[in-house]
Amino acid sequence: MARLNVKIADLELKNPVMTASGTFGYGLEFADLMPLDGIGGIIVKGTTLNPREGNDYPRMAETASGMLNCVGLQNKGVDYFCEHIYPLIKDIDTNMIVNVSGSSPEDYAECAARIDALEKIPAIELNISCPNVKDGGMAFGVTCAGAASVVKAVRQRYHKTLIVKLSPNVTDIAEIARAVEAEGADSVSLINTLMGMAIDIEKRKTLLSINTGGLSGPCVKPVALRMVWQVAKAVKIPVIGLGGISCAKDAIEFLMAGATAIEIGTANFLDPAVSIKVRDGINEWLDAHGCQSVSEIIGVI
């Protein structure tokens, strides 16, 4: 049994496997199907200052080895989260991390400040990379100045571990990573979904209500891996890798490329217990290769 624990700034993870925001609800939805406390962290659904209804249906299209979604940050707002959801999840014995989104730096900061007050939420993941909302989201994450402005505002009001989730829909993701690092981000996670599209040729209409959506699943993995490798070389803060991870081998690739931890997203839909299998698979691989600790393989590429 190799040591699997890792650290993301002050955040102690019992193992490097987390579940990605928007693919795992609040964890509770999966409680019957896998032990929630068996993974290093659960990043819950994107939360905004005010409630959001999200985009119209249809919000999803299946693609080759992946899917597009344009959910659009549907959530009941941070106050609802604090009052009604937090009490249900606060005693789950893993890092419960809230993904935070907004439409202005002030929104982000206010939402983050309210979550800062919750004792059992040790970190937030700042979503400056949602491709499915008009106001905010990815608009901030595609320029260094935009990304920096949000992180700067949040950093003033949020005192725990601050992870910033980066968009792959940029020319140079390393540059954005450096910009958020300079404003005090404790970690970066990448990648959010790649903006894509699909068309029903018989109806001559796009398959998603807002035409475009975010691509996820195994099809994005090579792109995500390359970006994680680039960013890990560019910043000193720990990198969290995600994008199409479906098995332990995928996860190990991300760790080798420089990720200190990984998130599993779309694969949760195919196998709700996949994150536990990935954890066990990493452990078995480390044992089989004589590694005492997962840290021995992080960033070896």
Binding site: K45, E53, Y57, R59, G217, D271
Partner: protein, 257 residues
């Protein structure tokens, strides 16, 4: 109701129609509790173009034979791959998912209205009602006599009335035109089928002040209420068909047309 991920064993695959197969699954252990109206997310192995699981409603649960029946319309690569399953194969299932139909109460007169492959969950609903000593009435619609699925089995559990669009069996027309609706009064209607049919049934129920539930089948990814892809607009905002449904009271749906 507790959910499971199970590798169920394929016992039989019966091509009951050109476009429909009946897959009978079993397990070494007793199958979990499942309610009429709930569904199963099945993983489709061996179809490169099928990425996500496919939600399939529970057609019937035979407790004596320890069988779960899935009635599958073969409309795409995924469902066509399912139709090729052989006895002895395994099918990975996440189940039971969603909320079922409200159970019938003793003395209630319940009408189960189905169309096309939407008749599937009504068989289990009717069978459970019969088991509790409540006789269901089925009203089933299809394009032609040939498209009416599993009629002999429906007949085992209650009175069956049918409509066909070409008049080849039962009354000609749509389910909502059937004379039964003007001759008898029901306390409750549960419906599953094409959306235009369910909307027409809902309209009839509303006009006649009959409690009515409809089972929806919006495009889904997770089946667990996590991804928020399968939402339906309701009086309570966007709700997940997979977790908050698939069965909704029509009062909650924005089907006022």
């Amino acid at each position: 109701m507790k959910k499971y991920i199970l590798d169920l064993k394929v016992k039989q695959v019966e091509q009951i129609h050109q476009r429909y197969v009946l897959i009978k699954l079993t397990d070494d252990k007793p199958l979990p509790d499942m309610l009429p109206g709930q569904f199963v997310e099945v993983r489709v192995d061996g179809s490169t173009s099928t990425f996500l699981r496919r939600p399939i409603s529970i057609n019937f649960v035979d407790r004596t034979a320890n069988e779960l029946w899935l009635l599958v319309a073969t409309i795409g690569d995924g469902t066509r791959t399912l139709a090729k399953l052989q006895p002895g194969d395994t099918l990975n299932c996440v189940l039971p998912l969603g909320n079922g139909f409200t159970p019938a109460k003793t003395g209630e007169k319940v009408l189960l209205v189905g169309g096309g492959v939407g008749v599937a969950p009504l068989l289990y609903m009717g069978a459970e009602m019969k088991r509790q000593g409540i006789e269901p009435t089925f009203l089933l619609g299809a394009r032609t006599a040939n498209d009416l699925l599993m009629l002999p089995i429906f007949n085992m559990y209650g009175r069956v009335y049918v409509t066909t669009e070409d008049g080849s069996m039962g009354e000609k027309g749509f389910v909502t035109n059937h004379s039964l609706l003007s001759l008898e009064r029901f306390d409750r209607i549960s419906t599953c089928g094409p959306t235009p049919m369910m909307k027409a049934v809902a309209r009839y129920a509303r006009q006649n002040n009959i409690d009515c539930e409809a089972s929806l089948e919006n495009l889904m990814a997770c089946g667990l209420g996590a991804c928020l892809c399968c939402v339906e607009k309701t009086t309570e905002g966007n709700l997940c068909v997979c977790k908050d449904g698939p069965v909704f009271n029509i009062k909650k749906l924005l089907w006022q047309d």
